[in-house]
Amino acid sequence: MSESSTMDGPGGPDRRRRLARLAYGAFVGGVMGFTLTALALQWLGTAAPATLTLFQGIALIITAATGAIGGIMVAMSFSRRLYNIENQSDESDPEEYGDAAPLLRFAGTGLLATAVQFAALALPPERGAGDIVLPLIMAALLVQLWANWQLWQRSDELRRAVTLEGAAIALAAIILIISLWAPLAIYGHVGFDPLAVVIVITLANLVPSLWITHRRGL
């Protein structure tokens, strides 16, 4: 190992600090996001948590997680103070915030659009929500596409490498899962819920991307 890697390499204090921050943020964000989403849905009268299917429940958890993380990222992009709390590195440059803020904003916007997409997907269509839900989902997908394109355009080679690595793992995982799922569903061993397909594709994309982003120290 080089000397430079001993300071914050695997198991180092910087890594532990990052993991602790990640775990704390995920827990607080997840609980807050889930509670707010459940309350919002109840307030809208579209669904009571007790009537949700398993996949609708998972969709709401994804809504909560992406909403919370996306919200934090967008908030950080508008607040240097918040950004500095999250990035207490000895090497951090005062100028860095100016470069990082747009990236945080677009990444956060993409995650917020994902939250909207999954909140809309979780609404039970039999209650007449289809008229609102479909345009909402289409708009959310367009926002995701736009945000991801903006992010790609502004990324340097490390961020692009992380994106491509995550996409490669996601593609392999999706091919494997769908290829196993399809024959099992065709022969009647498991169901085939379209919402579950979207959830699998999203998780197969999000989980490796977040893991690789963390591994590369971003």
Binding site: S5, D8, D156
Partner: protein, 83 residues
């Protein structure tokens, strides 16, 4: 020591002396990032062996410090006939 006892694994990342050269110039990671037109996170990831830079970036870094690429990025691999 900069060179590990085993760099023969296929997934082993390159070791490098980027940090030593940067510190010798008295630059921060941000300053080096600006010189090389990348983000500070990229410099940090390279210095901590989390990311192997692209060939163009490695060449730019070597030119910037006025050293050959192999003086900046270390690899003990040798062609078979020379082993």
């Amino acid at each position: 020591m900069f060179v590990s006892d085993s760099l023969t694994h296929r997934d082993q990342r390159l070791q490098n002396r980027l940090k030593e050269h940067r510190l010798a110039r008295g630059w921060s990671q941000g300053q080096l990032a600006e010189e090389l037109d990348v983000t500070r996170q990229t410099i940090n990831a390279v210095e901590t062996d989390r990311y192997d830079p692209s060939l163009p970036l490695a060449l730019r870094a070597a030119k910037l410090f006025g050293v050959p690429v192999e003086a900046l990025f270390l690899d003990d691999w040798m062609p078979k006939e020379r082993r």
